[in-house]
Every structure is written in structure tokens, then in C-alpha cells.
């Protein structure tokens, strides 16, 4: 007497990306905290000082947030027009910001009023930065010039007018106090040395440059502009290394992860892509609700802060290890593992006489019913487990397939009341177009239509569902037709592009 063979649930290949260490790392963030700002968030900068506050520049204000606060700890509002590029000095004491009114303001982080105001630019200043010696400020403006200012004397040191369009990005070297790089809408990147009159290096990005970034070693330079992210080797005289085109809209911001192993790029296409810096492959991807203008990572990647055009600031915090452990602890509480292994791991001694008990096989609920040939009940028990039906439709489909194999699917589907039928129709609407389940569910759908043909029109719920089902099927048929057309086009193209090959003739020796 053989035992009952349970219904086989087919294992379908998992679609979607594979689980890599990268996805695990970048998925380990909590749900984002969203803060509404007054306008588009153009710049975010983290302080290098211990609590790691960050300055968010949006509209005419600069807000400074603490690492876990949703309310700003400090606000600078003394701007007459749109503020740009709020940046902390490396000691975290001073903050500099440009403004559309061409003035550059320097603030004490604890104060309120500007310590210094640098006047000299004739148009809005989009770029500001401190040099590595902390005594100078770099600015870049829409009047095509970039200038260096001295903080103590609040005087202009030098001015470079080499760019032929707006300067929208710039960065100072962290290793050398005299070197800085600017990127402009004239498609060029220029490397300046404050000790020299002219630029020392020019690179052509061939798109308006939106963002530049230096590697910690400062041997490599990354620039973003248009849809491209380009990497340049500065030590080889500005030779282009790679050009990445993974976004389908302008890339607006670049950032490096804290260990320098991963490069992040944010774009107007609402995605943040993370690249491996050794092979420049995309290893992960974040989606946001709106076009992204600014992006910053907290030290140790503790949080990812993203500013968007709709003025929303989104902050994702990394899950702390305690929380993880808490989750694991909860899981351990649920199944009483000890009961399952009770006495199982006992190793018999040498003289023990072993009495083996036959292992009782546990059948699933639907299998118990199938064993008893209760066909309707088998389907019902499966459909009633709503969570199971939604999450794992494979099981329900497998039960239906088994009933179909037994030739009793029609009997199992028949004789249902309104509630039962609508439950069934809901399931069909959810899964009938899934290519994995279509062969089975189409037969089931046909059977249902056959059986309940006579009672159509008696229940509004069922009727509505039937109409939905009809629309769904029609749409799917249209899709399939379109796909076939595309396939035909592709075939034509491929056939045209392939070189004609001689067909070997019978008898000809080759």
C-alpha cells in the first residue's frame, strides 16, 4: 500500500535581481523620513563634526538638521533671493552659501547674521567651497568667472574668466590648498592652480557639466552632465577613463560612499544608481518620487539624504544592528523549535535497542481533502486562506491543475454562492494574465463562464467582476498582438543585418 502522493507545487524561477552583498547592504535602510521644504532642494552638505548635522539649501533658506531630527536645529534666512550651495567648513564651524543676488555669505554655525559678505560677482553664485587650508573660499558664478576670496580680510584674491558659460559646479582639493576644479555649461572641466594665472588642465565633457567629484586619493575626477557620468584620470593629464550612461535624464548630483568603493549618481529621472568603482557596473538602484537635484551620504553611510525638485527632502537611516537583532529575536519566539526536535537529536548508546516509529507525514489541508476526494472542499480550503492565495498563487493554481487532471475541476467550480464566486473571480482577475498560470486558469475561467452563464445579471458584484475580467483579457490580447508585431519587426531587422550564408548543398564535401 503506497502512501498518498501530495500535490506537487511547481517551483518557478524567481524573477528580478539576484541577491548580492550590495543589495543586502543598500537595502538595509529604514523607510524614508520625508520633510517638505519651501522650494526645490538644490544642495545638501554634511558637517564633518561629530553629530554630523547637515545643511539643506532650498529656496531662500538654509536649514541645518540634526542626524535624527525632523525639525531644523538652525535656520539661516538672511537671503534676498534663492540661496545656493550651503557648505560647511572642514572644522564644522563656518558655513558658506551663494545666492542668486550675486553675494556670497559666510555664517558662523552658531550665529545668525552673516559674518562676512563677499561682493564682486555680477550674477548669481551657484558654487561655493572652502579650500583645504580653511582660509580661502572658492566661488563660481553665472557671470562665467570663478574667484578665490580671503576670509580674514574678506577680499578677492584671484579671478579666473576662462569659462564661456555658467559655472554650476566646482570642488576644491582636500590635499592641496591651491588646487580646485570647476565645471561649466560650456561643456568643459577646468583644473586651476591658485599659484598660476591660467587653468592647468582642461577636459571636455561634451555635455553641460552639472556636478564634479574628486576621489579621496584625488587621482581620479568624476563629472556628471547630460545623461553621462564620466571618470577622468588626472594623473594622466585628464585622460577619459570611462563614460557611463545609465540614466535616461540629466544626472544632477554625484557622491561617494564613505569607504570610496561605491559611486552614487542621482538624476532627474528619479533614480539613484550605485556603481562599483572597480568595474563601474551598476550594483544597486534607488527609486524616488520626483526628480532628484541633490544627494548626500552621511559619514559611514549612516543615512542617505536626497533633495527633490518638488521640495521634498527624503532621509533614509540605516537600520541599527540592535534593531536587526530584535527582529531575529522576535522570529525565534514564534515557532517552538524545541518541540520539533524533542528527542530527535538523542544519539543512541551502544547497547540501546532502537525501536523506530514510522514518520507520520503531514499533509497540507488541501491534500487532506484531495485524499478523501472532497474536491470542492479542497479548492475552498485553499481559496479561504487569503494570505496564501495572494502571496503564493502557485499553490492554488496547482490545486486547480490537480483537479483538472482528475477531471473534476468543473464539479469543484460549480455550485458556489455569490461570495464564493466573487472570491474565485478575484483570484482569476489577479492571476489569469500571469504567463506562469495562464494555461490552467484559462480553462478554469472558461468553465466558470460555462457554469454561471445562466445566472449572469443576478448579482451586481459578480457582474462587475466579470466586466473587469473581460477588460483584462481584451487588454492582454492587445498586448500580445503588439508584442507579436514587435517580434516581427525585430526578426526582419535581424534577418536584414545578418550576412547571407551559403547553404551547404547535398553532396558537396566540406
Amino acid at each position: 500500500m503506497a502512501s498518498f502522493k501530495s500535490t506537487k507545487i511547481p517551483i518557478y524561477p524567481k524573477l528580478g535581481e539576484k541577491v548580492t552583498p550590495d543589495t543586502l547592504y543598500w537595502k538595509n535602510y529604514k523607510a524614508p523620513v520625508q520633510i517638505k521644504e519651501f522650494g526645490a532642494v538644490t544642495s545638501i552638505d554634511f558637517s564633518s563634526l561629530a553629530p554630523h548635522n547637515y545643511a539643506v539649501t532650498a529656496s531662500t533658506r538654509i536649514h541645518i538638521y540634526g542626524p535624527f531630527s525632523t525639525e531644523p536645529v538652525k535656520t539661516f534666512t538672511r537671503f534676498k533671493d534663492t540661496a545656493y550651495s550651503g557648505k560647511f567648513r572642514s572644522d564644522g564651524q563656518l558655513l558658506v552659501a551663494g545666492c542668486e543676488d550675486s553675494m556670497v555669505r559666510l555664517f558662523d554655525v552658531s550665529g545668525k547674521v552673516a559674518l562676512r559678505v563677499f561682493k564682486g560677482h555680477t550674477k548669481g553664485v551657484h558654487v561655493t567651497d572652502f579650500t583645504s587650508d580653511c582660509y580661502h573660499i572658492l566661488t563660481g558664478s553665472d557671470d562665467y568667472t570663478c574667484r578665490l576670496w580671503d576670509i580674514p580680510n574678506s577680499t578677492e584674491l584671484t579671478s579666473y574668466k576662462e569659462h564661456t558659460d555658467y559655472i554650476r559646479c566646482g570642488i576644491t582639493s582636500k590635499l592641496n590648498r591651491d588646487i580646485f576644479i570647476t565645471g561649466s555649461y560650456d561643456h568643459t572641466l577646468r583644473v586651476f592652480d591658485a599659484r598660476v594665472e591660467k587653468s592647468v588642465m582642461t577636459m571636455d565633457h561634451s555635455q553641460p557639466v552639472e556636478s564634479v567629484l574628486l576621489y579621496p586619493s584625488e587621482g581620479l575626477l568624476v563629472s556628471a552632465g547630460g545623461r553621462y557620468v564620466k571618470v577622468w584620470d588626472l594623473l594622466k593629464g585628464g585622460q577619459p577613463l570611462v563614460s557611463l550612461k545609465n540614466h535616461h535624464k540629466t544626472v544632477t548630483c554625484l557622491s561617494l560612499s564613505s569607504n570610496g568603493q561605491r559611486l552614487l549618481s542621482a538624476s532627474l529621472d528619479r533614480h539613484v544608481k550605485i556603481y562599483n568603482t572597480t568595474n563601474y557596473k551598476v550594483v544597486h538602484n534607488f527609486d524616488y518620487a520626483a526628480s532628484i537635484l541633490s544627494l548626500a551620504l552621511a559619514p559611514d553611510d549612516e543615512s542617505i539624504v536626497v533633495g527633490m525638485t518638488n521640495g521634498v527632502l527624503s532621509i533614509k537611516h540605516r537600520k541599527s544592528p540592535e534593531e536587526k537583532r530584535e527582529m531575529a529575536g522576535k522570529q525565534r519566539m514564534q515557532p517552538v523549535y524545541r518541540i520539533f526536535v524533542k528527542g530527535r537529536n538523542y544519539v543512541p548508546k551502544k547497547d540501546d535497542f532502537l525501536v523506530s516509529k514510522p514518520v507520520k507525514s503531514h499533509l497540507a489541508k488541501y491534500d487532506k481533502q484531495l485524499k478523501k476526494f472532497n474536491i470542492s472542499k479542497a479548492l475552498d480550503t485553499q481559496l479561504r486562506q487569503i494570505s496564501c492565495t495572494i502571496l503564493i498563487p502557485e499553490i492554488t493554481v496547482a490545486v486547480m491543475k490537480e483537479l483538472d487532471r482528475r477531471g473534476t475541476l468543473k464539479n469543484a467550480l460549480a455550485g458556489r454562492d455569490e461570495q464564493n464566486l466573487s472570491q474565485l473571480l478575484n483570484f482569476l482577475i489577479g492571476n489569469v494574465v500571469d504567463p506562469r498560470f495562464t494555461p490552467v486558469l484559462v480553462t478554469a475561467t472558461e468553465m466558470i463562464l460555462d457554469i454561471y452563464q445562466a445566472v449572469v445579471g443576478q448579482s451586481s458584484v459578480v457582474d462587475r467582476q466579470l466586466v473587469r475580467l473581460q477588460e483584462l483579457v481584451e487588454r492582454e490580447v492587445d498586448y500580445q498582438q503588439d508584442l507579436l508585431e514587435v517580434l516581427g519587426m525585430l526578426d526582419t531587422l535581424f534577418a536584414a543585418s545578418l550576412p547571407r550564408k551559403e547553404v551547404p548543398c547535398p553532396g558537396s564535401s566540406r
Binding site: M1, A2, S3, F4, K5, S6, T7, K8, P10, L370, E402, R405, R406, G407, P439, T443, P504, C505, P506, G507, S508, S509, R510
Partner: protein, 828 residues
């Protein structure tokens, strides 16, 4: 034909054991069942085959115990004889010649010396009318007796077994046929007929299928096609008979049987559930479900302790009083068809083919025993007629037997085909195949051929399908997973023609695929189309590469009576011959090929080498009908035949299935002689059932004896222990209950190990000098001196001269005892 006399076609195993109801002997030790032209005897406890009763020349159609002697059995056969056997020793006692083909046999205790047989009606020999006749078996000393005294009892009966039954103490016999039940009372010599309405209105099928009479009461149980069981009572009159109905079966009731005391009724049908009805409480029933296949017969042992059910898959299950299955006797399963063709498993050398539905069976050809069943479909089998079930349609092994590929198929009416390709890996630990990969819908249409590449480096599988493609599947190396899985490597086609067959060359460097009329040759290494060969008209049905010295040839058989042979070096046709080849098979161990041709309703066989114009062997009119399945099975030992005609059978043996699903093979004279000799040898010492335990013990005993001999031999060089071995044999072979007490045996046993006194004394006289003779003799009369140990050594060398005469005598007395038995016992 005369010159081929040394090659003979023989049936080799696989006979039907479920044809008729089996018989369990009175002591419940043996089970007898009709199997082809002989009656097989199985042990009920070990399920081993004991021996067979051979002698009938036609199909055996019934076996019953002799009611007057429970150690004898009657068997009837279509050759028109009834034979009486002693089944414990397989001795034919008597043969009664009836003269008509017999279809069933019934006996009753009350009618001693009479057997009831179902024979065709005398006047309508060709028609399908049968009658039940009583035959008085004449008492005569002769071996062969003519029994022509037939007296008709009932006319127009069914020839099926189970359609007639004796009632209470043999007072009446009841038989069913169609819609009619007929009861014949022997005392009154009168018969009553009861008929049912055909009842076609409600779609009910009332026809009788089987019958069983209660052994103690006047009650007849009948089974019907619609699954009902009717219990008839009060039937000794025409009018006021009654019946009650029991209904559980949803298909036809195939068989019914009362237990000997009449307390229970057993029934079985297509559901493969043994239903156990309680006679007194009719609504109470027990079930024994999932017995594997439809039940065709049920038999109960005379003491009621064992039931046996025969199943449609050539299986007999022995059940202990409906509680649990105790043994399964499984023959070669012959299902509805052999779709997989015949395959030889390279590991176990077993024949592999479709077994139970959804299974592959591994059948040992040498032992005529099913080794195991491999569940391919892995689904609960629903025993119901008219269902579309999954069937295993293709199977293939790779060259080493590490991988097995199977294709299962389910065709639904009006719906698309469901196909699964499964790949199984051989697991050394469990000694069985484990599922590795399942590919659902590998092709869009039926798979026509499937082969593994024979090359040892790559394991590659090629499938061809009616959807116009052939696909190559490779084992994908997966570094982080523990095991690899199979994935499609290449999809090929040729002008959207439908490929029908494919074949790999012996080294796996070439693949030929037959696309209807065109044969394409591909290189599996680069998947380049190397060349195409075509020889219209007719689509290619079979393709085979030559082997060894003939590997440059490619043979193809087309549907339009053409057998072509291409030379692959010149890419040209070497020869072709008009032949309607239904099957082309290559011998894996030689260059030989076998072609089965069908001609005017019968099949011919040609065995040839592709390089030689003359066939090695040909046999016309092999059997009626087309031969669809054949295989070359490698032999265990090579034959050393030098004769030209039998040389092709040296390395492997050709097995084939006829249209009627008989497994046949070719055997040579030398081989048969050897088989006969070995069977005779077996007969000598096999008086009891050869159980594995006995074999183990017997072997162990034999080794011990040998060891003993080896130990004793150096001690008593010239003397053997002839009596000893006989005594041991007696000890081992006599049943325990007839042996005397153990203490008595011990003495006998020990004595048997000693050396006989007469021979020992001669030795002594020879060894010891003249001077001791008088003393020796004087002692010898008093003491039971039986032997002497050679290892004891001559006493003179270390015997001290200071010893007195009496002491010396004492010593000698001790010395004369044989101690070898003691040492040998200690050694054991």
C-alpha cells in the same frame, strides 16, 4: 530453416501471473499461479520464486487444489488437458486428456473425482458459446489417461474465471453471464434462471461481472458493471427470491470472494481498493486503499489467514487478514503500451521500460524479476476510466548510467499538450535515481526522439520534436550551488521541417537528425550544419550510425520501403535496398545491426554488418505482426561460439516484443545446454525454498566445513570425515520437528567428527613397533579407542624412562583418545 536450427526463439520471462486467480496452499506457505504455459510456485513469506510446474503445451487457464488431497493441485490448459501435480516437489502425477480447449476449472469437496470444466460447445466449435461440463476422472495407474466422459451441467456460460461458483457444501453451482444468473441444484437436477432488466434508461449497467457463493449459508453475491454488489437469497424457487444491494465501487466490480467461514466478503475493482464487507452488518466495511492497480482476482487461503489480490499490472499482493500487505510478487508489467522503447540500464544491465502508469520499471533479464519501480510522474494516480493521465513517453540513459532523462506527456481533449522533461541523477548512497531538473514544456509539440551524447567528456542530451526544432541540453555548471542543473544550450532546425529521429555517432562527434526526407549532420562541438543527405522518396523513420570498424557508415530507414547506407567520408550513398524496415537496432558491443522488416503480416529479422553485403543471419516469419521494440542486451559471460551463424549472439542477446507483448529472445544450443546443466545442479540440493537466508546460511556452513577440513587435514592427513558431512547435512536438511532431542544429536554429531577406529588402528600398528602390540591389544578391548591424533607425537621421545609400567599404560590410554575434534571445535 534447417540450417538455423541451432538458433531458437524462446520466451524469456515476463509471463502473466495475473491471468487467473492464484491458489494459496492449505499451510499458507506457497502460492500457486498460472503463468503462461506453466504454473509458478512462490513462497508466501519471502515472495521468492520456488519452482514451476512445467508440462502444459498451451496457456494454463486455471489452477485449483485437489479437494481430496491438499498436497496436490489440478491445472487445466488450453491444450485440452487437466494435469494433477504434487506441487511441493514439482512432480506431474497424472495427465487427463479432455480433447477440448479448457477455459476454467472448478472443483468441490462433495464431488470427489469430478472436475467441472468450461469448454466450448461441441457443435459450435468456432462460435463463442461455452458450456460447463462435469468430468469424472477415471482411476487408472497410467500416467496419461483419456477422460472423454463429459456430462453437460450448464449451457451458455461465461469463459471468464470467477463467473461460476459452488454454493454451500457443493449443493448447487451458480453461474452468471450477461444479465442472467443461473443456479443449478445437483440434488434436484434442476436449474433456476434469474435475469435483470438491462436498465438502459438511466444509464445503469446491470450486467453481471463476477459471482461468489457463501460457504455456509444459502446466499450468492454477484458483482455488476455499475459497481453494485447484489446479495441473492431464497433463490431455490422461481418467484420469491430476494436480493439486497451493496454499493461502494464506482467502477465495475471485478472480483468477489467470501472468506472460508463466510463472515466477510471481499470485493475489488478498478479503484484498486480492497473492500472488506462484514457479512452480518452489511453497511459496515473496511478498506485497504492504494494497492497500486486495478484488482482482477482475489483469493483467500483455506484457513482464512491470508488474502491475495491479483492486479492488472501483473502483480500479486499477499495481505495478512486485511490488515497489512505482507508481500508483493511482481512480474514484468505490461501496460497499455511501451512508449519508451526497450532500454538497457548501463549500471544494473536491467531492462527499462514503461511499468505501472507513470513509472519506469527496471527488470532484471537474468533473474526474471522486477528490481524496482521509479516513480517518474510523482502524482497520485487516480484509478478511473476515461481520464487523461500523464504517461512516460521517452527515456534515455547516458553512457555511464549517471543520468536518466525522461519525458512525460499528457494529452487533453481539445487542449494543449502538457510535456515535462525530467533529468535524474544517480545517487550512489540510495542506489537510485534522484530528480535533478524538471523542464516544463521543453518543446511546443510531441517529442519524437531523445538521446544522450555517448562521448565521455560532455553530458549532452538532444531532443527532437514535432514543433520543427531539436534542442541540445547541457549540464550547467553552477559554482555556488551544490549541484548543477540542466539548461538548453542550442536550438536547431532545418527549413521548419519536422524532425523525426536523431542519432549520435559512437564517439559523439557527429549528430544526425532526420528532417522528414532530409538527413542533416551536425557537429555538436560547434553546432555547425556539416552536410545534408537525402534520398527521397519517403520520410526517414530510423537513423543509426555504424560502430567500431563501420563507424563511417550512417544508416537510415525510410517509410517508403527503403534502407539506405551513406558513407560519411564521401558523403555519398553506399548502398540501398528495398526493405520495409520497422525497426533498426545497433549492437553496442559489435558492428552488427538488426533490422526488423514487416512483410505480409509477419516480421522478418536480418542481422548484418553495414560493410558487408551478405547478412550474418536472417529469419523469415519471426512472428505475426510488426515488431516495434527490440534491444541488444549485453551478456554476463561471453559465449565462445565460432560458428558463423551464431557468432552475432556471442556478446549480446537480442530481446524483442511482439505485437502481443510477449518478450522473446534468441538462444543458441550451447547456451541452452549450459542452462539445463545449471538448473539440474540446482535441483539436487534445492528441496526447500531458496530463501536469501538459506543461501547465506548454506554458504556460511559450507565455508565452515571447508575450514574444518583445512584444519583437520594436516592432523589426520589420510583420513577424511565422510560420515561427518552426511550427518551435518542430515542435521541441516531434516525439518526441526522430526529431529530427535538435541542431546541425542550432540553425541551423534561429535562421534561423526571422529575418525573411524578401524582405519586408525591400522595406522597405529604401522607406526608403533612390535613390542607394544600385546599391551595395546589388551588395553584396546577395554577402552573405546577411536582414533589417534597425529599431532600428539610419538611418546618415546619425551616419555621419561623412570616411569613405571602402570604409569606408562595410563599415559598411553590418554594418548589413544582422539582430541582432534576438541581442537577443531575450539577453532570454530
Amino acid at each position: 530453416m534447417v540450417e538455423h536450427a541451432e538458433i531458437r526463439m524462446v520466451h524469456r520471462g515476463g509471463s502473466k501471473i495475473n491471468f487467473r486467480e492464484p491458489v494459496i496452499t492449505n499451510d499458507s506457505r506457497f502460492l500457486l499461479c498460472a503463468a503462461g504455459e506453466s504454473v509458478n510456485v512462490y513462497s508466501t513469506s519471502t515472495e521468492e520464486y520456488v519452482h514451476d510446474l512445467q508440462g502444459h503445451t498451451g496457456l494454463v487457464t486455471g489452477v485449483v487444489l485437489n479437494p481430496s488431497n491438499h498436497l496436490q493441485v489440478y491445472s487445466c490448459s488450453a491444450d485440452g488437458t487437466v494435469r494433477l501435480w504434487d506441487f511441493t516437489d514439482a512432480i506431474l502425477i497424472k495427465t487427463f486428456i479432455i480433447g477440448y480447449p479448457i477455459y476454467s476449472i472448478y472443483v468441490s469437496e462433495k464431488h470427489g473425482g469430478v472436475v467441472f470444466l468450461v469448454v466450448p460447445m461441441a457443435n459450435y466449435k468456432s462460435s463463442e458459446l461455452f458450456q460447463l461440463v462435469a468430468v469424472h476422472l477415471p482411476h487408472s495407474g497410467d500416467q496419461e489417461v483419456e477422460a472423454r466422459e463429459l456430462s453437460a451441467v450448464l449451457c451458455d456460460v461465461s469463459p471468464h474465471a470467477g463467473a461460476a461458483s459452488f454454493g454451500r457444501e457443493g449443493e448447487y453451482i451458480a453461474a452468471v453471464r450477461g444479465l442472467q444468473l443461473e443456479v443449478f441444484f445437483f440434488k434436484k437436477q434442476k436449474s433456476y434462471r434469474f435475469s435483470l432488466k438491462s436498465g438502459k434508461k438511466k444509464g445503469a449497467k446491470n450486467a453481471f461481472t463476477c459471482i461468489s457463493c457463501h460457504p455456509k449459508e444459502d446466499c450468492i453475491a454477484t458483482g455488476h458493471e455499475d459497481g453494485k454488489i447484489r446479495m441473492w437469497r431464497n433463490f431455490n424457487q422461481k418467484k420469491e427470491y430476494t436480493y439486497s444491494t451493496l454499493h461502494w465501487h464506482h467502477g465495475a466490480v471485478n472480483t468477489l470472494c467470501f472468506t472460508p467461514e463466510g463472515t466477510n466478503l471481499l470485493s475489488g475493482g478498478i479503484e484498486s481498493v480492497l473492500v472488506h464487507w462484514h457479512y452480518t452488518q452489511e453497511n459496515q466495511k473496511d478498506f485497504l486503499p492504494r494497492l497500486g492497480a486495478a484488482i482482477t482476482h482475489i483469493a483467500v487461503s483455506p484457513d482464512g489467514s491470508l488474502f491475495s489480490t491479483s492486479h492488472s499490472d501483473n502483480k500479486i499482493t499477499i495481505i495478512q487478514s486485511c490488515v497489512k500487505v505482507s508481500a508483493v510478487i511482481q512480474g514484468l508489467v505490461k501496460g497499455d503500451g511501451v512508449w519508451t522503447n526497450l532500454i538497457i540500464d548501463p549500471r544494473s544491465k536491467a531492462l527499462v521500460l514503461n511499468g505501472k502508469p507513470g513509472h519506469l520499471q527496471f527488470y532484471s533479464l537474468h533473474r526474471d524479476k522486477q528490481l524496482y519501480n521509479l516513480d517518474i510522474v510523482q502524482q497520485e494516480y487516480i484509478h478511473e476510466e476515461g481520464l487523461d493521465q500523464f504517461e512516460v513517453v521517452k527515456a534515455a540513459f547516458d553512457a555511464r548510467g549517471d543520468w536518466l532523462a525522461t519525458v512525460e506527456e499528457r494529452r487533453k481533449k481539445g487542449a494543449e499538450l502538457e510535456i515535462n522533461l525530467k533529468l535524474w541523477a544517480y545517487d550512489e548512497l540510495t542506489q537510485s535515481f534522484v530528480l535533478n531538473t524538471t523542464v516544463t514544456a521543453p518543446h511546443e509539440d510531441q517529442i519524437t526522439a531523445m538521446f544522450f551524447s555517448p562521448s565521455p567528456e560532455t553530458t549532452m542530451l538532444v531532443t527532437t520534436s514535432l514543433d520543427g526544432h531539436f534542442k541540445a541540453w547541457l549540464l550547467a555548471d553552477h559554482s555556488d550551488a551544490n549541484e548543477g542543473f540542466w539548461a538548453c544550450d542550442f536550438v536547431g532546425g532545418y527549413h521548419l521541417l519536422k524532425p523525426g529521429c536523431c542519432s549520435f555517432s559512437a564517439d559523439g562527434s557527429l549528430l544526425s537528425v532526420g528532417f522528414q526526407e532530409v538527413v542533416t549532420v551536425w557537429s555538436p562541438a560547434s553546432w555547425e550544419l556539416l552536410t545534408t543527405l537525402s534520398q527521397p522518396p519517403g520520410a526517414i523513420r530510423d537513423l543509426c550510425f555504424g560502430r567500431l570498424s563501420c563507424s563511417k557508415y550512417l544508416l537510415g530507414a525510410s517509410t517508403k520501403n527503403q534502407l539506405c547506407c551513406w558513407n560519411l567520408l564521401t558523403c555519398s550513398l553506399e548502398w540501398s535496398t528495398p526493405m520495409d524496415v520497422s525497426l533498426l537496432q545497433t549492437d553496442p558491443l559489435s558492428e552488427n545491426m538488426a533490422a526488423f522488416c514487416s512483410q505480409s503480416g509477419s516480421s522478418d529479422l536480418f542481422v548484418f554488418k553495414p560493410s558487408e553485403p551478405r547478412p550474418l543471419y536472417s529469419q523469415k516469419a519471426l512472428c505475426t505482426g510488426k515488431v516495434q521494440h527490440a534491444v541488444f542486451a549485453p551478456r554476463d559471460q561471453m559465449l565462445e561460439s565460432c560458428e558463423e551463424r551464431t557468432q552475432w549472439l556471442n556478446r549480446s542477446q537480442l530481446y524483442f516484443f511482439t505485437q502481443h507483448m510477449d518478450l522473446l529472445t534468441f538462444s543458441t544450443k550451447t547456451e541452452e545446454d549450459r542452462l539445463l546443466a545449471s538448473s539440474k545442479q540446482l535441483m539436487v540440493d534445492d528441496s526447500v525454498a531458496v530463501t536469501p537466508f538459506y543461501l547465506l546460511l548454506g554458504k556460511h556452513r559450507g565455508q565452515q566445513l571447508e575450514k574444518q577440513e583445512a584444519l583437520t587435514n594436516p592432523m589426520a592427513e589420510r583420513t577424511q570425515l565422510p560420515q561427518g558431512s552426511i550427518a551435518i547435512k542430515e542435521l541441516l536438511h531434516t525439518p526441526a520437528h522430526v529431529l530427535p532431542s538435541a542431546s541425542f544429536l550432540c553425541a551423534m554429531f561429535v562421534r561423526s567428527l571422529l575418525i573411524s577406529s578401524s582405519s586408525a588402528r591400522e595406522e597405529k600398528e604401522h607406526e608403533e613397533g612390535e613390542m607394544e602390540r600385546e599391551e595395546e591389544d589388551s588395553e584396546g578391548e577395554a577402552d573405546p579407542r577411536l582414533g589417534e591424533s597425529a599431532a600428539w607425537g610419538p611418546p618415546e621421545e619425551f616419555g621419561a624412562p623412570a616411569l613405571t609400567k602402570a604409569q606408562e599404560r595410563e599415559l598411553r590410554k590418554v594418548k589413544t583418545f582422539d582430541h582432534s575434534w576438541l581442537s577443531s571445535l575450539l577453532d570454530c
